[in-house]
């Protein structure tokens, strides 16, 4: 994992992709997507976050222990949100 990427090109390409996604997300917020607006915006956010993590934070080249650390944190975060939101969403009046 010390074998850092040799070229600066992937970094610049990722930066460009992030800005393109940023613009498209902003533009899509003016399309009348209704209930789909938030899922679409969050999906774009996930793509951006994955790009930052894999390329900028070099998670793609990281050791297994680092990848597992991130996965464990994400799994628990999703568990927290899922079971908490499930309560609010399934309560009667």
């Amino acid at each position: 994992m010390n074998a850092a990427p040799i070229s600066v090109k992937p970094i610049l390409a990722t930066g460009g992709a992030l800005l393109a996604l940023w613009v498209s997300s902003f533009a899509l917020s003016y399309a009348s997507l209704g209930t789909w607006a938030l899922p679409v915006a969050l999906a774009i956010a996930v793509v951006k976050a994955v790009l930052v993590a894999l390329v900028f934070m070099e998670l793609a080249h990281a050791t297994l222990s680092m990848k597992l650390t991130v996965l464990a944190a994400l799994a628990l975060l999703l568990t927290l949100m899922a079971l908490m939101v499930a309560d609010v969403a399934t309560r009667g009046t």
Binding site: A72, L83, M84, A86, R91
Partner: protein, 541 residues
């Protein structure tokens, strides 16, 4: 003493309070923890005395409320959460992986002082108004009570920060500092237990920190995150609080299970029945522990769908606990069992943990919990797990590693006697509380109807037996600290890694390369350096 050890390397006060040696930091924690145990125990005794008679006995209702809150806060956050990991984990984990120290020694010292800062803040809150919410700090009451909520909660927040940094240090140490050739499957099981605990600490504690900050903002600036008048929902506080505080039970119990694994193997002189089952079930518990928090909220207004899901998920805990218990008992079967003080405490642990665990499965069933919720039944249940589990394991650890840490030995007869007293006192204190709760005695009530008095008196009497047992322990251990006879490097004839260096260990833990070629639970071949041990000779013969 001619040999250089971590104790006599340098002896100035400065060399202790600014030490970065993980063993000395472990001792600093141990001393602080015992102080916290005494203080929390003092409040517990006061509460039990108050309940000798219905109505007013020795304190006012307000003092009672503040006392049970402080008892809970001190015991949970200042004693039990850090107990075994911060003291024995710090002392032993680097030795057990064959390292000279933890990965970040200065961060380790910082953790200790953060812990002290948080502790002082909690204690200061006692004098600037106290807190009367119970250790769970539920809003809306905690958002509006004029007592010292901000001081106490920020204190717990700082302690949480210390917990996170300690956990981080242990995770990184286990990953990156293992001695060459020491794979995961060769590590002592105590390391697995501490590692699994550390993961919970790192990932659950920030959620507690966040939610406590929100309550502080609600209480001091009236932001109303959980204020129904502003559309807030106090049940969501309980979700976030228990997302941390249920896994916190595993922060308390998993290290205890690590101690039990070490003690059982050493005193049965046998390889554990299944190393992998014990190691992996620690992770099973750590993971499942994150899925069960809702069982604290069955009657809080949570949806029936969520409550049903949490009820089923909670029962999964029993599977992984049972895997461990059956492994330990099967290991003891047919072993050359030496009934020493640490093992007697482990027997107490097994009995109380199984008893408390079974009642836990019962309260995880929603229909039963509706009857038992917020009664003494629940109080008895979690004391069986937290005191009967963590405290007995902590005492087992103190006795088991006393010769490792100090190089001296305590009186075995007094050890066995006080272990028996602690067990009996504990059982007499808390068993009547199951009956009280089932009969309808609510928890945290100052007053009670006269028909409950006999059981309350039995419970209070039990608490005195328990305190006597702990007092005797303190006296003979204090005596042994200075006057105990030299224990030798490996008095129990254990194979585990921490016994393969001198007792007490030198500053850098090992005199030469750590001799780890024989596995930590392998009693089939003689261990060089311990063959003069009579027990080992018998085994070899």
């Amino acid at each position: 003493m001619t040999e250089a050890t971590y104790l006599n390397a340098r002896t100035t006060i400065r060399s202790w309070v600014l030490t970065t040696d993980h063993k000395r930091i472990g001792i600093l924690y141990l001393v602080t923890l015992i102080f916290a145990l005494v203080l929390g125990g003092f409040f517990a005794m006061a509460l039990r005395i108050e309940h000798l008679t219905p109505g007013h006995t020795v304190m006012t209702a307000m003092t009672y409320n503040r006392s049970f809150t402080l008892h809970g806060v001190i015991m949970v956050w200042i004693f039990m959460i850090p107990s075994i990991p911060a003291s024995f984990g710090n002392f032993l984990l680097p030795i057990m992986v064959g390292a000279k120290d933890v990965a970040f020694p200065r961060l380790n010292l910082l953790s200790y002082y953060l812990f002290i800062t948080g502790t002082v803040m909690v204690l200061v809150s006692m004098f600037v108004g106290g807190i009367d919410t119970g250790w769970t700090f539920y809003p809306p009451y905690s958002s509006s009570t004029p007592t010292a909520i901000p001081t106490a909660l920020l204190g717990v927040f700082v302690i949480g920060f210390s917990t996170i940094l300690t956990g981080l240090n242990f995770v990184v140490t286990t990953h990156t500092m293992r001695h060459e050739g020491l794979g995961w499957m060769k590590l002592p099981l105590f390391v697995w237990a501490i590692y699994a605990t550390s993961i919970i600490q790192v990932l659950a504690t920030p959620v507690l920190g966040m939610v406590l900050l929100l309550v502080v903002l609600d209480n001091s600036l009236h932001w109303g995150f959980f204020d129904p008048a502003r559309g807030g929902d106090p049940v969501l506080y309980q979700h976030l609080f228990w997302f941390y505080s249920h896994p916190a039970v595993y922060i308390m119990i998993l290290p205890g299970m690590g101690v039990v694994s070490e003690v059982v193997a050493t005193f049965a002189r046998k390889n554990l029945y299944s190393y992998r089952a014990i190691a992996y079930s620690s992770f099973g518990l750590a993971f499942v522990g994150f899925l069960t928090w809702g069982h604290h909220m069955f009657v809080a207004g949570m949806s029936t769908f969520d409550a049903g899901a949490f009820g089923v998920l909670s029962m999964l805990v029993a599977i992984f606990s049972a895997i461990k218990v059956f492994n330990w008992t099967w290991t003891l079967k047919g072993g050359a069992v030496a009934l020493k003080t640490p093992l007697l405490y482990v027997f107490a642990f097994l009995f109380l943990f199984v008893f408390g665990g079974m009642t836990g499965v019962a309260v995880a069933a929603m229909s039963l919990d509706v009857h038992w919720h917020d009664t003494y039944f629940v109080v008895a249940h979690f004391h069986f797990i937290m005191v009967g589990g963590t405290l007995t394991a902590f005492l087992a650890a103190i006795h088991y590693w006393f010769p490792k840490i100090t190089g001296r030995m305590y009186s075995e007869r007094l050890g066995l006697l006080s272990a028996a007293l602690v067990f009996a006192g504990f059982f007499v204190t808390f068993f009547p509380q199951f009956l009280l709760g089932n009969a309808g005695m609510p928890r945290r009530y100052y007053d009670y109807p006269p028909q409950f008095q006999p059981l309350h008196i039995v419970s209070t009497a039990g608490s005195w037996v328990l305190a006597t047992g702990l007092l005797i322990t303190a006296i003979y251990l204090g005596h042994a600290l200075f006057r105990g006879h030299r224990a030798g490097d490996n008095p129990w004839g254990s194979r585990s890694f921490e016994w393969r260096t001198t007792s007490p260990p030198p500053t850098h833990n090992f005199h030469a390369t750590p001799p780890f070629d024989i596995d930590p639970y392998d009693y089939t071949q003689p261990l060089p350096g311990t063959d003069d041990d009579p027990a080992a000779e018998k085994e070899a013969a």
